[in-house]
Amino acid sequence: MKKLLFSAVLAGVTLVSCTSDDSLSPENENVETPATYNFERDNSSTVDFNGQTTRLQMAAELNSNFNDFDNATEELLLNMFVNENAPFENASLNESSKSVKSKVAASNLYFSTNTVESTEIKNDFDTYISEQMTTVKSAKDQLAEAGVPGQIADGTSERYVNEKGLEYNQAFAKGLIGALLVDQIANNYLSSAVLDEGDNRANNDAEITEEGKAYTTMEHKWDEAYGYLYGDPSIPSANPNSVLNESDDRLLFNYLGQVDRDEDFAGIAEETFEAFKIGRAAIVAGNYELRDEQVAIIQENLSKVVAVRAVHYLQGGKTNIEEGNYGSAFHELSEGFGFIYSLRFTHNPSTGAPYLSKAQIDTYKEQLLSGNGFWDVTPETLDAISEEIAAAFGFSVSEA
């Protein structure tokens, strides 16, 4: 009887979507918001994102070796990027067939017909590694100055920068937040081209699971998006926000927490998690309109995290430049540069495209790095870029 009722409800929902009249509100009554991100079928969990966890671990180990001039080499880091020649300490990563690089700028929506740019972006990350382990490494024992790579004091610690003041490890890690995580989540796994590929809807409606798995393909795609945000092993998958700002994650989840900690954006972490839960429950219920509403929330929020941090660091850099703290300034501007790089992968749900055009973003990068780069950049330039970014995302510079 229960089953029959469920089918009737489903029939109702599909009939509604069949008329494709978007003035009708979705029948949300049949989707309750789950308390946690636990989903089961026949008493087995249907949630699996081990591939995302693997890539996050690869990225973390690569990032943690970026400044290890004594032990790391260009070859080792490049090997970690493509996972060749068993480069990782964590042996299980070496056995994996996955790599970070293959998913950089690789979303279905933005790059499947744009491998020219995808390749350029992958090459940028290669270059950050190579330059770090050649130019910067060979200058590590000299003082940096305008046009000269080397080390520079930041309080009691030192920073290693290129001839423009850029720290490649920051460009790499913060760039990866956009190029790998936001791109895969917002532009790949949550895009309709992936969620609704082939017979995904019909199979999901009929609960036809993947061979040997407990999940339908659509459920799994959603979980893979989830995994890029919440997949670090230190994050409990059912209730990730319980470790918000306390996990070992140093990528997107970490910065979602930092933005959430700013009172102007408080609640963004909870809203994002709610959207992931409701969207997943909507897939189980076959309510794709409700699912797509959650997709839009996630795309908007994760994009906003990138933008807020970009502006935050540009402003931090500006303050330090004005006070003559070049080491601190360069560190913040390097983080800011990485987040600006990541803007290319943001997703405005009302346009299906980034909030700022590629040309605008390229201009910002050029303004930051022209001439002697951070040694020359003016507070006015940093303000102008900050204003444009904040305006595009609908917040104010002071809020960031």
């Binding site: 089953k3 029959l4 089918s7 009737a8 489903l10 029939a11 599909t14 009939l15 979507s17 069949c18 494709s20 994102f49 081990n50 591939g51 995302q52 693997t54 890539r55 493509v82 996955k98 690089k101 293959s102 950089v104 690789a106 499947s112 017909t113 744009n114 491998t115 020219v116 995808s118 390749t119 992958k122 090459n123 290669d126 796994y189 081209a193 609704d196 590929e197 082939g198 017979d199 809807r201 019909a202 409606d205 009929a206 393909t217 799994h220 795609k221 893979e224 995994g227």
Partner: protein, 370 residues
């Protein structure tokens, strides 16, 4: 319980309807269109597939004969004749590679005849030992046209060096035997597939007009689109240019060893795919029922036009490529990537839009997820 099943069925039908494009929405059920699927299948079988195989088989026959002549007398003119025939047959193979159905599918014909890159190290060690079995699936990458490419062009930097392997080299007899075995096997496999189309398989194929996923139209269409995506886009352009990995990989070029031939192979495969879309007969310019006419019958001539316009764009961009795709990858890989992107746009039109318009569901997915 019975009612519930009916309801679920109803859901499925309506779900399919809801994914229908606003173009030909009344076609949802896909059995009530008036298009003559049998006529299309007959045109494919009688005017395209069978004559293409017959033509190829004639050339593989000659290939085997010339390989025999070369093995008997490995001289310069015999080598030249064999090389030329290799190119003729390899080009003709591009016309049938997409038809991975029936006997070809059963034999894994394409895998045996054109798996590349060749594993040249394994080929060399098998020649040295003189012991091998080309029937094994584990030897896909050691035979077929890629092996001939290596054996005729890759054994030395000029033809004298190549000839040395078949004359004064201590393994000369083994080289000749391996070359002959590869050529013979290409011809035998091609003969078997051709004979199946000349025999019972033709009717089995044409009579299976069902619009279900087991019908010939659905099955071959999936093969066609998959071929275009995986073998033409990825195999010929995507893998060599590193479209997915970000690192160019010249060794993945088709016909890596014979210089200046890879573009020709690619263009032949491309025009073959276009001809099949148009239902163009093999060997003459007549056309019959095809995807193009099917789409037009469904009032989706607009989509057929988009697909043809994109084919046109691909051909125009592809003309700019170097005769040697290996050279192209090594000098200006960006052009390769641009061509790849144009091919991918066509994949979207074929795989999403055309299959949806024809109410054919995709039986393979690009699951490169985790």
């Amino acid at each position: 319980m019975k009612i519930s099943r009916i309801l679920i069925l109803a859901c499925l039908v309506f779900a399919a309807c809801s994914t229908e494009d606003d173009g030909g929405s009344e076609v949802g059920g896909n059995t009530d269109d008036n298009f003559d699927r049998a006529a299309m299948l007959a045109n494919w079988a009688d005017n395209i597939i069978l004559p293409s195989y017959q033509n190829l088989n004639k050339e593989t026959q000659t290939l085997e004969e010339l390989a025999n002549s070369f093995a008997e007398n490995p001289g310069s003119s015999e080598l030249t004749a064999l090389r030329n025939q290799f190119k003729v047959a390899y080009l003709d193979f591009q016309n049938v590679s997409m038809f991975d159905i029936g006997k070809a599918e059963e034999l894994n014909y394409r895998s045996f005849v054109n798996t590349y890159p060749l594993n040249s190290g394994d080929v060399e060690s098998k020649i040295t030992s003189g012991s091998y079995d080309l029937n094994l699936p584990s030897s896909y990458a050691e035979q077929g046209f890629p092996a001939l490419d290596y054996l005729l062009f890759g054994l030395g930097s000029n033809s004298d060096e190549v000839l040395e392997k078949y004359t004064s080299n201590e393994n000369a007899e083994n080289y000749k035997a391996y070359l002959l075995d590869v050529a013979t096997r290409i011809n035998a496999l091609t003969g078997e597939v051709t004979a199946s189309w000349e025999g019972d398989y033709r009717d089995a194929f044409v009579d299976n007009t069902s619009s279900s996923s087991n019908g010939s139209v659905d099955r071959l269409t999936n093969k066609y689109v998959m071929y275009f995506e995986k073998f033409l886009r990825s195999g010929k352009i995507g893998f060599p240019s590193g479209a997915i990995t970000g690192s160019p990989s010249p060794i993945n070029v088709e016909s890596y060893y014979s210089e200046d031939f890879s573009k020709q192979l690619y263009l032949q495969a491309l025009s073959s795919s276009i001809d099949f879309f148009n239902g163009k007969h093999s060997g003459n310019s007549q056309t019959g029922e095809s995807y193009k006419s099917y789409l037009e019958a469904l009032d989706r001539g607009d989509l057929a036009d988009d697909i043809l316009a994109q084919f046109n764009t691909i051909q125009t961009r592809s003309e700019e490529l170097d005769q040697s795709l290996r050279n192209q990858v090594e000098t200006n890989n960006t052009l390769m990537l641009e061509v790849h992107d144009e091919l991918q746009k066509e994949v979207v039109l074929l795989k999403l839009d055309m299959l949806q318009a024809l109410s054919i569901s995709v039986d393979y997915v690009d699951s490169d997820g985790d």
